[in-house]
Amino acid sequence: MVTTTSSELGAELYRSLGLTDDEFARIKTILGREPNRAELAMYSVMWSEHCSYKSSRIHLKTLPSEGPHVLVGPGEGAGVIDVDGVAVALRLESHNHPSFVEPFQGAATGIGGIVRDVLSMGARPIALLDPLRFGPLPAEQIGDAKVAERNRVLVEGVVSGISSYGNCIGVPTVGGEIKFEGTYSGNPLVNVMCIGVAPKERIMKARAEGVGNKVLLLGSTTGRDGIGGVSVLASATFGEEAEALRPSVQVGDPFTEKLLIEGCLRLIELGLVVGIQDLGGAGLCCATSESAANAGTGMRLDLGQVALRESGMEPFEILTSESQERMLVIVEPKDLDAALAECERMGLRASVVGEVTDSKRLEVVSDGEVVADVPAASLGDGPVYDRPIERPSWVDALSSETIEPPDDIEAGLMKLIGSPNIASKRWAWEQYDHQVMLGTVVRPGADAAVLRIPGTSTRIAVTTDGNGRYCYLDPRGGAQHSVAEAYRNLSALGAEPVAITNCLNFGNPERPEVMWQFAEAVRGIGEACISLGTPVTGGNVSFYNETGDVAIYPTPIIGMVGVMPEDVVVPGPGWRKEGDVILLLGATGQELGGSEYARTVLGKVSGKLPALDLEIERAVGTVAREAIRAGLCMSAHDLSEGGLAVALAEACAISGLGAQIDLQSETPAWELFSESASRILLSVSESAASRVLEIASNAGVPARRIGVVSAGSLRGPGFDLDVAEISSAFHQSFAAAMGYPSASGESSGNVGYS
């Protein structure tokens, strides 16, 4: 029997744990008594925003999650889609705050977490992507030099952390983004995406089936990591000492992660696994209660069997510890010895920490005493809030501003192509092993990555996209644009987009303005996904991204997967041959609101977003796909930030070839810098041009010839730029802004932390 003295659990205590009076009352109703310390800790972490999605749930429910490819939708460790008979798992998650506190370890452990999510589906992780957002670098000379230097150190640390962890576990990092805006100086975004594969019939779920089955804890020892939130519960005797022992930062152990990957997959392959669950937020408490609740069973957990890293840990600490590199596996008693022996052989720590019961309760014992006893499902069945929403008035003021294009096209173009936002991120992705597993057919640096799916003749294309600036000006429209851009990126490789996952980075949901941004963005994502035929397989919400009380730009990141037959030759973004004809699919309007040009050259974040017609987006993508798959395209590149000007310059910088452009327009500057949506740039051989134009016209998609590929320079109305100049700006600016003047990352190097 659990005993509690109600006096020790005053209102002050539960409130300091983040529980409201109503929530506490609800806990008492569930238990029929007062919770004890350990139970209070369990509810407080499980009912936190991070674990319970209590503010976002009612909105997320509206997202379309069904489609012909979807095998497992939202709610599991990762979404799973069917790609040519093989299960492909995908998931995107944030690790923003830990990465701000300690960029290297924060980003590293972020990779560890997302990999275990995918592993928990029984899938082998095969690719990582890293959409990142930081404040401006010193080179941009926007804002405070000291802050800019700190931003640079953050980029350096995050990229090193991803490199260190991802490379060590042997999962290639094949894509991502790095973008800079002032809003992220005090709150960078470190989102990470993982893709995994498994035979369809081997997809696992977090279910603790089978009364009497054994519960195994695999991997690292359990320490006092990540229990800051409930540390007020430390009993007075341990209090001070424990405080000193509580790490503020978790250190990644990629070696143990690699052992976990191989160990778990091996146990699954041997048929020894009934259910499997990763330990993430809320640690053991979450993994045990969730897997029991999912199966309608209960679980008895003996804390004495948990391998601890430190002595004197209290039950609530063991239960809520977020120590990294741990997995929970359910095995039948008859398989226990085999499972333990296999772990031993592989050098993976494993201990039996509990047993599945029919009580539907999570019973926790320590030293033979029951220290917690709660209905398993109640922990995951937290409160749900419909938080107040209010459209802020500044939105209208901002969007009514107008933006004019530059008079000096050359200066505008050079400034954009050499800005850290646009310039090549080679300096970062060269630090990532993007080749291991021999599956990377299209490497970083293109519009998306293309990967083999072993055992099939199908390949997948993957990209991450998000435009916080657009979402700040118009969260619903901006979110639609983000989905559309991802769709366009995949189409530009000839892939058919089939599903998305997402990570929604927002401010404090208790503020009606932020909640409005959130609701609008979710609505926009849902609308776009329905129109584009890409259901939402899952996602992650990161609230409370604020500096002081200023929220970051609302930043939904979309991770999208597309498919294509293996015989499609991906043309790539760079020109191929002099004399090829340059075609532009899609129509261009005078639309510079929220544009890269407005931000980087004019220093403005304002205006009305470009119009977006999702049916047109789909049609443009379809035309590009058809032309690419028919082998008609020599190059293909989507238009997004910086419009046609940047797309042309990139095609030159990547290939070393030039272009002779004739826009047949009175207003070439508008044509070049406008960020009108739904456009793709193609180059085709002279003989193929008419066929591509015909495909477009049959589909009702505007398409026109805008020039030819040439040598040496990028030339057109009002501009004549040396390709070498464009190329060095594009290839070297980011490395230079990071303090590595030669592109190779070979130079002096930087050190220092603060």
Binding site: E102, D225, R246, V249, V251, D253, R309, G752, Y753, S754
Partner: protein
């Protein structure tokens, strides 16, 4: 004047040290039993030009805090180098 120092930078007590743990788990099978509490850090030896040892130490103290160590996860200690021979 030049003063020689060594700066020892170790992971903080409360921070886990996977490297040390892995070495510790491996050592017995390599034939070295009975070794525990392994922690792996950095040792940096250097010379400081200053008017006095105190001034040198003072500068180094600041450099250690800001550059040579990462105060979020590491702690450091400065030794006058005479007490150590390695790497001189």
């Amino acid at each position: 004047m030049k003063f020689r120092f060594a700066v020892d930078v170790m992971p903080k007590k409360e921070i886990s040290d996977p490297q040390g743990q892995t070495v510790e788990r491996a050592l017995p099978s390599l034939g070295y039993p009975g070794i525990s509490q392994v922690r792996v850090g950095k040792r940096i030896t250097l010379e400081v030009e200053a008017d006095s040892e105190d001034a040198a130490r003072d500068l180094l103290e600041r450099a250690s805090e800001r550059v040579l160590s990462n105060p979020v996860i590491e702690e450091f200690e400065i030794e006058a180098a005479e007490s150590s021979g390695a790497g001189r």
